[in-house]
């Protein structure tokens, strides 16, 4: 299912805005598309910026552990994480 929830749409916009992805339309980011390396082609520096933006907007802290190793694997995965751990929606 490729329809995006409101949260996913908001996060897609957050990604584009935070990382200054001028040529990317938030609407074009597919929920299951990889965010890193292929797909959107983000790198580790982007991961830090995003972690910062997500934390500020949604209040959830991201850290490296087994459980959330895949939190940035796709928009959907990120949105699920925020849904579960975020303080604000």
């Amino acid at each position: 299912m490729n329809e995006k929830s409101e949260l996913e749409q908001n996060i897609a916009q957050l990604i584009v805005d935070t990382l200054n992805l001028e040529e990317v339309d938030a609407d074009e980011i597919e929920p299951d598309q990889p965010l890193f390396n292929e797909g959107l082609g983000l790198d580790s520096i982007d991961a830090l910026e995003l972690a910062l933006a997500i934390s500020k907007r949604y209040g959830c802290k991201i850290k490296s552990d087994e459980e959330n190793a895949r939190v940035f694997s796709s928009l959907r995965a990120l949105s699920d994480y925020v849904q579960t751990n975020g303080a604000t929606k």
Binding site: I45, L48, A51, K63, S64
Partner: protein
């Protein structure tokens, strides 16, 4: 002509033993925190001998271990086996291939093997049982198969042994090799120890966010702990929460080794940190405001190290003390023509700095800018001409150039600065070009965005001066 001091005049020509480095520690002293447990000196040495005995019998090991402890064990094991660690500047496939082409007798050494590599690969594994490591130690002492509790011998490595070769991208398009001999690495660690006031035998905890494969991480999280017997953290240190967790897990006093990007993110995300004696930042100049915030928030001092892959770390300052950098003891700086040269300590010959500096004295200098060819994106140094050559080498690309825009209001060391590229390639789309670049360069240098254009604004003599590129860029942005 000034006479430059050679490395063998600074240190005795006798073999540098690791025992000099670990001499203040006892066999049961912890030296690494790894996987929720403390690794003692003896366990570490046992692991080193075990791994050394398993290594392929060739001269060069491309050490790509991801885990810091495994990198440390692999690094030392390679030395014990009288081999040299090759340390690529990034994980790009073609860079790796270039290095493999230049070193006939090499293999890939890591904790994670990779696909599609036409080269022998060796996966590091540690001894599973305690008696295995004792056996390795006992064999080393020539005591046959007896299991015993005697401390494990500390290996001796010759000063002149090439411990590592680091690589930089230069304007030639091929990686430039920088040989680091063991004596030089040890001396570098001694100089850092002296500068940062780490006493012999002082058990300092070192938490680093930088990879051990690069000079900065090698010096601070591999050589410095080996020298002082400090406790080094081996675990995730990527997100601010990871860093906080790492610091909390380690005994005081603690030193955090990091970069402007990471420090800035910590400032933004962390309310506080457990006490750190000081924070060291390097890889790019640190903005005063970031240092200021960190000092107040984390109740600590923020220091910086200046250096480069070719020279290693050579100078330091406390950011808030001002613009002057102080060279480590034994180094000297001189101007010659329009370049600054560093000499002394372990350098075999003077090395030109890529940065534009104002020389204040032969030991102090200020940084005023960068040579036009060099860029620094989030702490990674790159050569524009190297990047351009790689771009032009892509089949289907008729012309192209990388450009780093001036970004208004960007704080140094934050991540807003990214390269853009203008490319003439009628038959290729942006994704294809970026995909081709991605196997050749570090991900941070990938253009964002890549503009496909009909032609570049070259002058009559085919040059691309910066002002033309700036105008070109501004026009493209408006459309």
């Amino acid at each position: 002509m000034r006479r430059f001091i050679r490395q063998d005049e600074c240190v005795s020509t006798s073999t540098h033993k690791l025992s000099k480095l670990l001499s203040h520690s006892r066999p049961d002293d912890p030296i690494v925190w790894w996987c929720n447990k403390l690794i003692t000196r003896d366990k570490f040495l046992g692991d080193v001998y075990f791994v050394a005995s398993q290594l392929p019998a060739t001269q060069y090991a491309i050490n790509m271990c991801n885990d810091r402890y495994l990198f440390l064990v692999a690094f030392a094991a390679v030395l014990v086996a009288r081999q040299t660690n090759l340390l690529p500047p990034n994980r790009a496939k073609t860079v790796l291939e270039d290095i493999i082409e230049s070193y006939d007798d090499c293999y890939y050494l890591s904790d994670e093997l990779i696909d599609d590599l036409d080269l022998q690969q060796h996966k590091i594994s540690l001894p599973a049982f305690q008696n295995e490591l004792h056996r390795a130690g006992a064999l080393k002492k020539g005591q046959g198969d007896d299991l015993n509790d005697a401390p494990i011998d500390i290996p001796k490595i010759a000063d002149k042994h090439i411990a590592a070769i680091t690589f930089t991208s230069g304007s030639t398009g091929r990686p430039q090799a920088n040989k680091k001999n063991w004596g030089g690495l040890v001396l570098g660690a001694l100089l850092a120890q002296s500068r940062f006031g780490i006493k012999d035998g002082e058990a300092v905890s070192i938490i680093a966010t930088v990879p051990p494969q690069h000079m900065y991480g090698l010096e601070t999280s591999v050589m410095l702990p080996l020298l002082t017997g400090s406790l080094v953290y081996s675990g995730a240190t990527f997100y601010p929460e990871d860093i906080r967790n790492a610091v909390a897990n380690m005994p005081e006093p603690r030193i955090l080794i990091t970069t402007p990007v990471h420090l800035n993110t910590c400032n933004e995300l962390l309310v506080d940190l457990p006490a750190v004696k000081f924070i060291i930042s390097a890889t790019a100049p640190l903005a005063t405001c970031i240092a200021e915030t960190a000092e107040v928030k984390f109740q600590t001092q923020v220091m910086e190290i200046f250096g480069c892959t070719e020279t290693g770390s050579i100078a330091s300052r406390r950011t808030l003390d001002g613009d002057d950098w102080q060279l480590y003891d034994g180094f000297k700086i001189n101007r010659f023509d329009d370049k600054a040269f560093i000499s002394g300590a372990y350098l075999a010959e003077p090395v030109a700095l890529a940065d534009l500096v104002e020389v204040e004295s032969d030991e102090r200098f200020k940084i005023v800018g960068r040579c036009a060819d060099m860029v620094n994106i989030a702490g990674k140094r790159g050569s524009l001409s190297d990047l351009n050559q790689k771009l032009l080498g892509i089949e289907g690309v008729r012309d192209g150039v990388f450009y780093l825009p001036d970004i208004e209001g960007a704080t140094l060391g934050t991540t807003k600065e990214r390269l853009v590229a203008f490319v003439v390639a009628p038959e290729l789309d942006e994704k294809k070009i970026i995909s081709s670049l991605s196997v050749m360069v570090d991900p941070v240098f990938l253009p964002r965005p890549l503009y496909k254009v009909n032609s570049l604004p070259r002058t009559q003599s085919s040059k691309l001066p910066r002002n033309r590129l700036t105008e070109f860029y501004n026009t493209l942005r408006k459309t």
